[in-house]
């Protein structure tokens, strides 16, 4: 439902956002993520939103515990960011887009 597939350029950033229903936190996280990606990874990312309410079996694979969780599948290594992604600086650090100051 919230899938966004950006096919305009090579997708070297594969991100997966785990949510559980359309809670305010999830919606906020998705909005925050979209904003950050558009700003820093324009055209090179792909976001897949997984709703665990619909497919709970997927939680185990990525070791999901907290909701929302953002998983950076590519590039390796896998990184995880939990929370509503409201702290942009932390998200950038977490995604390895900015060296830790």
């Amino acid at each position: 439902m919230m899938d966004e597939n950006d096919d305009r350029s090579e997708k070297n950033w594969e991100l997966r956002l785990y949510v559980a229903g359309q809670t305010p936190k999830s919606l906020k996280a998705f909005a925050n993520l979209k904003k950050i990606c558009d700003e820093h990874l324009a055209g090179q990312y792909r976001i897949e939103v997984v709703d665990l309410m619909l497919s709970p079996q997927l939680a185990e694979g990525d070791q999901i515990l907290a909701i929302p969780t953002l998983v950076r599948k590519l590039p390796e290594p896998v990184r995880k960011i939990i929370g509503d992604l409201s702290n942009t600086e932390r998200v950038l650090v977490g995604l390895d887009l900015r060296p830790v100051a």
């Binding site: 939680a59 907290a66 929370g83």
Partner: protein
């Protein structure tokens, strides 16, 4: 969320979920609170995880309650490997959809926290796992790991509270394990605050270089429970909690009797031996024949077709077999037929707990109806006095519960008060046979007596016995002026008795002869008198007939004379008249 149902009120007992763990259900009077979380906390290596897994395995195999293990520490493979040695085949249970393992890996270095979050993911995972197999049991091991993985403890605490409420609403019986804290709290992060229905504390202590695991029910809301610390052991079949004292004394007492294998000893014990399922102790100083007595007991039982388990703490099986052969008891034959099994181990080989565990296992494996412990005093080497006492108490309780007749031997040290058996186990035992050496007139002799025997009349005599090449023999009692006679004193008494008997016999013979003679004399007299009597009778008869003849002659003469005078015929009237007129 409905946490407290109306069932919690009134006299109705809280619904329980049997753990299936040996002894634990007994302590908790039925198991953990059904549909509620239970906290199991303890230090590292105390068996928390194992308890949790056994809870799941027993649930799946014995109570048809599938379970979910959410492991925060070990991976699925590790968990499977760890419990394989206990005979738990998790793979099969998983394949049968009776069990589900889910390893929750949380690595702080991999996780960045930005802003608000909750643990809905955990709920989803757990909920999914529960729903796929219809789980009734859940184990969270160890959820406190989350405290080191997540920085926002406020959120975490709130979520844990929510989790436990959610588990209750799911109606699953859960075990939450927690690491023992160093401070005041039971757990490092105080999660006992959220799990308030039942708290079990595990502990692993090393005393005198021997480790003992203990379990205590710290709290159990709405239920009675044993409050003591109960030792428990991890055997090759899982956890076994051994209540030191059973909460209830309810072994059914058999009226059946079991022979001791020595006829005369049975006679001393009310004529028929000891009760089945009772515990007998044979105590005595070194070399009084305790093991020999035990061997007789075993021999008799095997002949009756009852299986015996012989715990030897002092001698090796072959040594026992050889030694008993010398008194004519062939134990090797019973070993061959499989009626007798030896379990030999030095007491110092392992701690008391493990001894107990080994004993439990051997008993469960072999199902004997007779158990011999020879000698229990040797266990002192493996533990302190009170520990041995408590171990024996538990063992006896267990054996009684199984209806097994037990014979223990205890060694009394020379010089000590004989009646004070080392471990003061007297109160535990039903029949106490004391063997002792008596020293008199330069020799030692063996005496046997029954100190006590519950529920039957028993002999109060000290009986001398000998160990012969055909077994243990209880001899006759000789009571002299100064007490029972033993050894040569008894032999002397026997000789004296024989001499006296002979003398008495001779005297009697003589008297008998005299009387016979007298009787003969009297008989002779009688014979002569009878002869005399015969003669007299004859004389009387002769005189009588002569008189008759004479009278007849007189009458004839008178008639003749009257005829000659022409007198009338003499008639009675005439005669009378004539005579009257004269």
């Amino acid at each position: 969320m409905a946490t407290e149902g109306p069932d919690d009120f009134g006299t109705r007992q809280l619904p329980k979920c049997p753990t299936g763990i040996k002894g634990l259900d007994q302590i908790t009077s039925g198991g953990f609170p059904s549909g509620r979380p239970t906290l199991v906390c303890g230090g590292a290596g105390c068996g928390k995880t194992l308890l949790g897994i056994e809870f799941l395995v027993r649930g799946a195999t014995e109570y048809d309650e599938p379970g979910v293990l959410l492991s925060f520490e070990e991976t699925d493979t590790e968990v499977k490997q760890n419990v394989r040695s206990l005979g738990f085949d998790l793979e099969r249970l998983i394949a049968d959809k009776k069990l589900r393992l889910d390893h929750v890996r949380v690595e702080r270095s991999e996780i960045e926290e930005t802003g608000e979050y909750d643990l809905e993911g955990l709920f989803v995972r757990l909920g999914y796992a529960i729903d796929t197999i219809g789980a009734k049991r859940v184990v969270l091991d160890t959820i406190e790991t989350l405290f080191s993985a997540l920085t926002d403890h406020t959120v975490l605490r709130a979520e844990l509270r929510r989790l436990f409420r959610w588990l209750k609403s799911k109606g699953v019986t859960a075990i939450i394990t927690g690491e023992r804290g160093h401070g005041e709290g039971l757990t490092r992060n105080g999660i006992e605050e959220y799990v308030s229905d039942c708290v079990i504390l595990l502990d692993h202590r090393v005393v005198n270089q021997l480790s003992t695991r203990r379990l205590r029910v710290v709290k159990y809301r709405g239920s009675t429970h044993g409050t003591n610390e109960y030792p428990f052991i991890i055997t090759s079949r899982g956890i076994s909690v051994l209540p030191v004292t059973s909460l209830v004394l309810e072994h059914s007492a058999s009226r059946e009797r079991v022979s001791t294998g020595i006829g005369r000893l049975d006679v001393m014990l009310g004529g028929r031996g000891i009760f089945r399922g009772s515990t007998a102790v044979v105590s005595g100083t070194a070399g009084t024949g305790k093991s020999s007595l035990a061997a007789h007991f075993v021999d008799a039982a095997c002949r009756r077709g009852e299986k015996c388990l012989y715990f030897a703490f002092e001698e090796s099986p072959s040594q026992i077999v050889r030694n008993m052969e010398s008194i004519g008891v062939r134990l090797d034959e019973h070993v061959k037929t499989g009626m007798l099994r030896f379990q030999a181990a030095r007491p110092t080989l392992h701690g008391l707990e493990l001894h107990l565990a080994v004993a439990h296992e051997a008993i469960e494996d072999f199902h004997p109806s007779i158990v011999v412990l020879d000698p229990v005093t040797n266990l002192m080497a493996a533990g302190g006095l009170s520990d041995v006492y408590s171990m024996l108490l538990r063992l006896i309780d267990y054996l009684k519960g199984c209806g097994i007749t037990t014979l223990m031997t205890t060694l009394t040290s020379a010089g000590a008060v004989l009646e004070a058996t080392e471990t003061n186990i007297s109160s535990l035992i039903d029949t106490w046979i004391l063997l002792r050496d008596t020293e008199s007139s330069g020799e030692r002799n063996r005496g046997l007596f029954i100190v006590k025997s519950r529920g039957m009349p028993h002999s109060n005599q000290v009986r001398e016995y000998r160990i012969t090449d055909h077994g243990l023999e209880i001899l006759d009692v000789y009571v002299g002026g100064g007490g029972a006679l033993t050894g040569s004193a008894r032999l002397a008494q026997e000789a004296r008795d024989r001499a006296e008997e002979m003398l008495r016999n001779q005297e009697f013979q003589q008297k008998h002869a005299e009387m016979e003679a007298e009787r003969a004399a009297i008989a002779a007299q009688i014979t002569s008198l009878q002869a005399k009597l015969k003669v007299t009778d004859h004389t009387i008869r002769v005189a009588d007939s002569e008189e008759e003849l004479r009278q007849a002659k007189v009458a004839a003469d008178r008639d003749a004379m009257a005829k000659s005078r022409y007198a009338d015929q003499a008639t009675p009237q005439n005669t009378r008249l004539k005579e009257g007129s004269q």
